[in-house]
């Protein structure tokens, strides 16, 4: 397969884009990544044409056919290139995986960003909400190494890119995930040992810098 057959439209700090790239890397699929230079200004023609409804990244173009919405793209990657599988083989376990992926998608990013977007008393409230979500996820993880068992897979891929945003919230919220949720912190460390993850994830310090600028622009102290 030539590199040009698989193209991703990306933005450097988007955890949703990282899900797609980790998925492709896990499958050993060669791809070209194209950065949207001005995502919040003038979006590229290719992006507007490929995702006219949402006009968002990530977009995956496979042999020119566009796909959008990161979880849908990740499922596509898993089904199009079945080996190694990202989801368990048993129907119930697969459904549980989809449930937790959906939970993470609905709750985790909002919860962590809620902290650095807040000021004053609202920070503590946001922190509490975030830690509650992590505790639920720790429950789902149980004693397993990864969300679906011994192997890194779909749910881990959905969650791990969001964790690069934790550092900013830890600093502005004055707390540490390692102290509050050690099991979750251990899971993060395990995921970071995978080449696909360490290769794709943006440095959390860069996210911290970005968040600082965003807070200034929104007048948050």
């Amino acid at each position: 397969m030539s590199k040009e057959d698989v193209l991703t439209l990306d933005y450097w700090c988007s955890p949703f884009c990282m899900r797609v790239k980790i998925g492709l890397t896990e499958k050993g699929v060669a791809y070209e990544s194209r950065e949207e230079e001005d995502l919040f200004g003038e979006k590229s023609e290719l992006l507007l044409k490929s995702n006219p409804i949402y006009q968002k990244v990530p977009v995956l173009l496979h042999n020119g056919k566009p796909l959008s919405e990161s979880m849908i793209i990740l499922s596509y990657i898993d089904e199009q290139w079945p080996s190694p599988p990202l989801l368990p083989s048993c129907a119930y376990a697969r459904a549980q995986a989809r449930f937790w992926a959906d939970y993470i998608d609905k709750k985790l990013f909002e919860a962590v960003c809620g902290i650095w977007r807040s000021q004053g008393e609202a920070v503590e409230v946001a922190k509490k909400g975030f830690i509650e979500v992590l505790k639920v996820l720790e429950g789902a993880l149980g004693e397993k190494d990864f969300f679906c068992g011994d192997t890194f897979g779909y749910v881990d891929i959905v969650a791990i890119p969001i964790t690069i945003w934790f550092l900013a919230s830890e600093r502005y919220g004055n707390f540490q995930v390692e102290t509050e949720c050690p099991k979750f912190a251990a899971w993060i460390k395990r995921c970071l040992q995978r080449e696909s993850v360490s290769k794709v994830l943006t440095d959390p310090e860069k996210i911290y810098g970005f968040v600082g600028v965003a807070r200034k622009m929104q007048g948050i102290e």
């Binding site: 409804i53 496979h62 056919k65 796909l67 959008s68 919405e69 849908i72 793209i73 499922s75 596509y76 089904e79 199009q80 129907a91 119930y92 697969r94 459904a95 549980q96 989809r98 449930f99 959906d102 939970y103 639920v136």
Partner: protein
């Protein structure tokens, strides 16, 4: 077809419960239905869905599942007759995309119309009509979203035809405009007339009364 211990915890007035019932009906799965007395959630519901504490919950061979879209995909995988999703990965991705669009853009817009203050109502209704128009573009000239037969998106989005009309009547708004979305309107009518689909829908007059009270309670605190 025996479902080997299938139970559905649901609420009669919930569109999310309804679409799971549609999926089970289409697959010919026998199941026990347990009505939840919302808002007095049962201990069983809280045990089976501690993360969200919501219906519907499907229990199959003692194992619980929540989130209607997750449940519907599970049903499709376990009972392989009358498939809802195609085998082709791109076709599946497309169906999932449009199911998500219906759920995230059309449904909430209809809900916003339901609770809108009088001066905002037309704007939110217009947004809902625009989103329904976009949904219609995926239907195009097909009889159903699934093609010649109903599929995943039909099951997921079918409730909109019922609830949009209820909202129209209660708040006097225009959502299912035949001029705006003629194909979608025709699809809703055809879909809702299918025996397997019609059989599961609660009596419309009961749904109307229920939502009228619901509307009263939602708008009672707004000035």
């Amino acid at each position: 077809m025996a479902g080997k211990g299938v139970t559905l915890l649901g609420y009669w007035g919930s569109p999310y419960t309804l679409r799971v019932r549609w999926a089970l009906k289409l697959k010919g799965v026998d199941y026990e239905y347990v009505e939840e007395d919302l808002p007095n959630k049962s201990a069983l519901l809280l045990k089976y869905n501690p993360a969200h504490k919501k219906i519907p919950v499907l229990v199959h061979e003692g194992k619980p599942l929540a989130e209607s879209l997750v449940i519907i995909e599970y049903i499709d995988e376990v009972w392989k007759n009358n498939p809802l999703l195609s085998q082709d990965p791109y076709g599946r991705a497309e169906a999932r995309f449009w199911a998500k669009f219906a759920d995230e853009k059309c449904g909430p817009a209809i809900m916003r119309t339901f609770v809108a203050k009088e001066d905002e109502k037309e704007n939110v209704a217009r947004e809902a009509r625009e989103n329904l128009k976009i949904l219609e573009s995926y239907l195009a000239e097909k009889p159903f979203f699934g093609g010649e037969t109903i599929g995943f998106v039909d099951i997921v989005a079918g409730w909109i035809g019922i609830w949009a009309r209820i909202v129209e009547e209660i708040v006097d708004a225009n959502l299912m405009d035949a001029g705006n979305t003629p194909l979608l309107n025709a699809w809703f009518d055809n879909f809702l007339e299918l025996p397997a689909i019609k059989e599961c829908v609660p009596p419309i007059d009961q749904l109307l009364e229920h939502n009228k009270s619901f509307h009263k309670s939602l708008t009672a605190t707004s000035t």
